[in-house]
Symmetry: C2
Subunit: 428 residues, 2 copies
Amino acid sequence: MSHRDASAGVPSSSSAGGGRVRQRRRSSEVPQEVNKANGGGAHLLIDDKSKYKSMWTRIRSSVWMIGGFAFIIYMGHLYIWAMIVVIQIFMAMELFNLGRRAHEDRHLPGFRLLNWHFFFTVMLYVYGRFLSRQLVNTVTSDKFLYQLVSGLIKYQMFICYFLYIAGIVCFILTLKKRMYKYQFGRFAWTHMILFVVFAQSSFTVGNIFEGIFWFLLPASLIVINDIAAYFFGFFFGRTPLIKLSPKKTWEGFIGASVTTIISAFVLANVMGRFQWLTCPRKDLSTGWLYCDPGPMFKPKYYSLEGWLPDWFPWNEVSVLPVQKHALALGLFASSIAPFGGFFASGFKRAFKIKDFGDSIPGHGGITDRMDCQMVMAVFSYIYYQSFIATQSTSVEMILDQILNNLTIEEQISLYQQLGKFFQERQLA
Amino acid sequence: MSHRDASAGVPSSSSAGGGRVRQRRRSSEVPQEVNKANGGGAHLLIDDKSKYKSMWTRIRSSVWMIGGFAFIIYMGHLYIWAMIVVIQIFMAMELFNLGRRAHEDRHLPGFRLLNWHFFFTVMLYVYGRFLSRQLVNTVTSDKFLYQLVSGLIKYQMFICYFLYIAGIVCFILTLKKRMYKYQFGRFAWTHMILFVVFAQSSFTVGNIFEGIFWFLLPASLIVINDIAAYFFGFFFGRTPLIKLSPKKTWEGFIGASVTTIISAFVLANVMGRFQWLTCPRKDLSTGWLYCDPGPMFKPKYYSLEGWLPDWFPWNEVSVLPVQKHALALGLFASSIAPFGGFFASGFKRAFKIKDFGDSIPGHGGITDRMDCQMVMAVFSYIYYQSFIATQSTSVEMILDQILNNLTIEEQISLYQQLGKFFQERQLA
């Protein structure tokens, strides 16, 4: 506010980036008739119309996206995973195309193919590791298939390594004189893309199988934060937040933070009551999910008597312990995750591109929508593993490992060794 | 050979890169007096002298390096690890300095610091994960220290993530107008360096603790291959191998391959007999190492009777099963690992630099010596994990996990659950 007051008496055209924003923001609060009355009004009016129009385009796209997303959540873990793979492929497509030079590419026919070779090699590696446990759980019934799958799992790392090395050898053998620099640049770019795209998605997939909750809540919080920031900025935005993204304002940022943290608390209470969302999935089936909800999801009741008037219908609230963690997720989603967006903005400005792509009307490319989601997915996974995956899960995890990765003979040998160990210490 | 014969009758000055090599190589086989006799001899002679001089510089450095290396191997696992950390820091120093622009850097005071912040964050992450098991084994005696260490281990991922995110936030907040592109370029470069430097070194450290053998043999093979390629190329080199590195010849490549594969077979037999080299190290102590050598290192005796004359002193050979695997390592070290060198050559040509640094006289920077080592370290680790780490190690691994990561109560609970499982299946 003080920022605005200070410049109120001074012609604002002289100030740099920040001033432009302030003017644009202000135009939305001043009634349009007033705007028309003074000189430059016509221009501002047009700006305003296009602003509303672009808002509607964006809302329409958003509704479609959210609807489709809800449907996929309803379908289950495998479908969510498939969605993530599709998003990854789109992102990689958008990003591989950035900074390509048509002239150089004409002389390098196999170069795009090589990008996708690396892409699918990394995919095989990341998801292969992840599949190993789930897949073994799924196909143990068929002896031959089991052998095949566990063989593939055993040598999966080796296979991926060889595919990768084959890619590198191809890259070196197809180096063309006078294009070294371009080729090495593209090579580095490919690796950056793969790192960004797969680091986040492997964490996301990890979250899904720990329980859809741990994927859905963080993803929703980012969407809520985005939408809230947009509307708070649209209606109240005045003070520019950061030079990198001139459209972002402090009002949008703070309004969105409050909204997101409250939403996190409320949403966790709602989502935490569906077993479909809270149960971990230990195989690749898509059937109904039943589990004993962990202590995180068992409601605790607090009486409200004495706090509220007697005629009020509710006299107690039920709180899930997980809501405490939801607050942490909400705080991160609204304070740190936006830096993913700033990073993307800075990147786009550095390389003078408007959007990473044009797949979604009003939103730009898929990559433009994913910037904060990526930061958030990694955070939620690490948060889950550090603070929520309890020691008791760890017993289960090891038991899982024993039952899935060892032969019966090895299991018995392990059991006996453990027994001997306890006997020595006279424990059991 | 045919390549050379074909161009013998034609004035070779017209041909491109390859011709230059052929001429240079040829000068070493022609006696110098003959060279003096004809016109352009003087120039070739000077070239030759400097060639010999640079060879001697290189040999001196190599002897020093190999001696120091042997001493460190003798000192043990922790010292090898320390050596790797020092090499990493030198490599990072060399690589961080590449492509810096003094003018831009003057306006970005904290930027170098940020590089090192990322470097040590990744180091904490990579080695922290690795330390976890070893450290817990080492300090279990002191209750408080144990608690502290296991706490640090539990939250290690979270701490690293936060340090990393803090780095990203700093990066974004210190973005300066008109330097975006330079800053993002440097940011990407930092990440590429960290990826290359740490991917390889985490594999190397992994190798060391599986047994120094799995680090020493591959590293020696690369050195042998390098030296052999140098000498075979020096004395017999004629046919250029690849345009990227004009000094490399097919003769050097093939001679080195044969030498390396034979050396691998012989060295594995020698190294495989020292328990200091073959035993895995499960904690961070540096004391004497004793273990039951696995089946890989138990010699098998083959009689040579009938194959050799009677007066020959040896009538049987002892072969270690591990020598079979050594052949595979030798094959890789001589056929695929050199591509690490080609990659580095290509990179240097693309960005018009001679060497990555000048730390070692006659060899260039440390990075210049590490190119093939990196490829090899990753390969040996993956090879070891895929083909040598047997299922029986896996029982030990899980036992390790149980005894180190679970509390006594959890261990007993696990034991009982396992027992119940066996009872149900009537197995034990």
